[in-house]
């Protein structure tokens, strides 16, 4: 913040070149050189309006989801955050009466274009839900590989490798490697959720959508998922909907605040949680609501 003042009027104000300020300036610079601005955003949402039948629930939202960053969507219940992310992989239209207008571009390609196969969209943009939902009749192994097999892969060696890699990425391998053929539902809630993440990762998605992935988990299991999110963003772009503001603050790089179907504020998480631009955001994050 002081840097902005210094930048805006060079020469007039001067930050003391102390050891306190020096590393901060360096890290700011480092942040800028590795900033996602240099890389095109993975998802571009333009003028998105979302409907349930005749009623419009999300109004004209435009935002950029940066590549290999975690973007959190926060807001009170009913603000349209889950509906919004369900439009990012065309899941919303599965709901009766659900439709969306506007554009969602994945690497420049409009997901709502005429010749786009929604199944392909959902392969490239995976989703993890609030309640862990492993396929109840399948083993851990088959759960992980289910989506991958649907894509036509059958070679057993490849499948084994894929299972191990996905479970490792989901930080579950060590816990289940000796019982891969046990039912997925034998696992604890936190493990089941990581199994679902492994299943989503097995098809090599570019984006992973997480709709309140920790709301059914205890604090330890939550911490594991949060650590996992941190590791996964090396390879996958993540969008997470959460009711837990502290979780958004902990795991995300960018945060979008939704209220009554509108995007109120979108920006870097540290800025949004320490010094937001909009009064509505400030009221929400400080708990001055209602």
């Amino acid at each position: 913040m002081s840097k902005n003042v210094v930048d805006s009027q060079p020469g007039q104000y001067h930050a003391e070149p102390t050891t306190m300020t020096q590393p901060r300036l360096e890290s700011d610079q480092a942040r800028q050189t590795t900033s996602p601005e240099a890389e095109p955003p993975r998802l571009v949402v333009e003028g998105l309006n979302i409907y349930y039948g005749a009623s419009k629930v999300v109004h004209n939202v435009s935002l950029l989801i940066k590549t290999r960053k975690v973007t959190a969507i926060i807001g009170p219940s009913g603000c349209g955050k889950s509906t919004f992310i369900r439009c990012l992989n065309r899941m919303h239209e599965v709901t009766p009466g659900g439709r969306a207008e506007g554009r969602v571009l994945l690497d420049g390609e409009d997901l709502y274009g005429l010749n786009v196969d929604p199944v392909q969209v959902r392969r490239r943009i995976g989703m993890v839900f609030q309640k862990p939902n492993p396929f109840p009749t399948m083993s851990i192994y088959d759960n992980v590989i289910a989506g991958y097999k649907l894509n036509g892969y059958r070679n057993q060696k490849n499948l084994d490798e894929k299972v191990e890699k996905s479970l490792r990425m989901a930080a579950l391998w060590e816990e289940v490697k000796d019982k891969l053929h046990r039912p997925g539902t034998d696992l604890s809630g936190g493990q089941q959720q990581r199994l679902c993440i492994a299943r989503a990762l097995a098809v090599d998605p570019e984006v992973l959508l997480m709709d309140e992935p920790c709301s059914a988990l205890d604090p330890i299991a939550t911490t594991k998922i949060e650590e996992l999110i941190h590791e996964l963003k090396e390879t996958v772009t993540i969008v997470i909907v959460t009711h837990n503001m502290q979780q958004a603050a902990r795991v995300s790089d960018y945060t979008a605040f939704f209220y009554l179907g509108e995007l109120i504020e979108f920006g870097e998480t540290h800025k949004l949680f320490t010094n937001p631009e909009k009064r509505q955001t400030e009221d929400y994050i400080t708990g001055r609501f209602g």
Binding site: Y259, T286, G290
Partner: protein, 230 residues
């Protein structure tokens, strides 16, 4: 969108209110300590000086208590936005207020020593410095309560006046010492008192700077020149 100032969590609201009141109480106490400390010097009242020195315990206790409140708020409520800035500012303000309290004790100690010898000179600039420093503390805390950044900026600007008075007293006491070596002991003590008051004004400036950060989220610390407005 409801935009009331109250938190939905009433207990949290109460604790924030208590924090604000405790900081203000500590500020009032510290201001009184300075005023009385300078009075012990001007009135040559060593007995009062002793009372003021004793009363510093209360300032120290408040420092610890307020830190406890802040840490509890941070741990239990995970504050964000302006609450976070308010609480972290509170933590820092008490450190400055506690140091101001120590300076008041130092003034009393010099006063007791000076009171044992004949008065070197009438005290004119020192009470003036004390008045400005006290006003700076009061205004910095007013700015804190009212979230008034204009007033906070004024406090930062007023610091120059205290610095000038300190330089003037230093030159004056130096002249005494050059003219008569017998005055060295007393003159250095007077110069010390002046330096304490100058430090007190610096601490008030720190508080004012933190108020600007708290309200605007913008740091004006360590700038060569103050911005005309924030």
């Amino acid at each position: 969108m409801p935009t009331s100032m109250e938190h939905t969590d009433k207990r949290y609201e109460e604790e924030l209110k208590k924090l604000r009141e405790e900081i203000l109480y500590m500020g009032g106490l510290v201001e009184d300590q300075i005023q009385k400390a300078v009075k012990t010097l001007v009135d040559r009242d060593s007995e009062l000086a002793q009372v003021i020195i004793e009363r510093d315990h209360e300032v120290n206790r408040l420092d610890v208590d307020i830190d406890d409140i802040c840490i509890k708020l941070l741990a239990l409520h995970q504050p964000a936005g302006r609450d976070l800035r308010f609480i972290t500012t509170g933590l820092k303000i008490t450190t400055d207020l506690e140091r101001i309290g120590d300076m008041a004790v130092n003034i009393c100690e010099r006063a007791i020593e000076l009171n044992q010898e004949p008065q070197l000179k009438p005290y004119i600039d020192i009470p003036r410095m004390a008045r400005i420093s006290q006003r700076m503390i009061r205004e910095s805390l007013d700015a804190f309560v009212r979230e008034d950044t204009d007033l906070a900026l004024k406090v930062c600007k007023d610091d120059d006046e205290v610095d000038q008075l300190n330089a003037q007293i230093f030159r004056e006491t130096l002249t005494f010492m050059l003219e008569n070596a017998q005055t060295i002991s007393r003159a250095t003590k007077i110069a010390s008192v002046s330096k304490y008051l100058e430090r007190i004004a610096d601490h008030a400036t720190n508080i004012a700077e933190m108020v600007i950060f708290m309200v605007k989220g913008k740091s004006i610390r360590h700038m060569k020149e103050l911005p005309p407005s924030v």
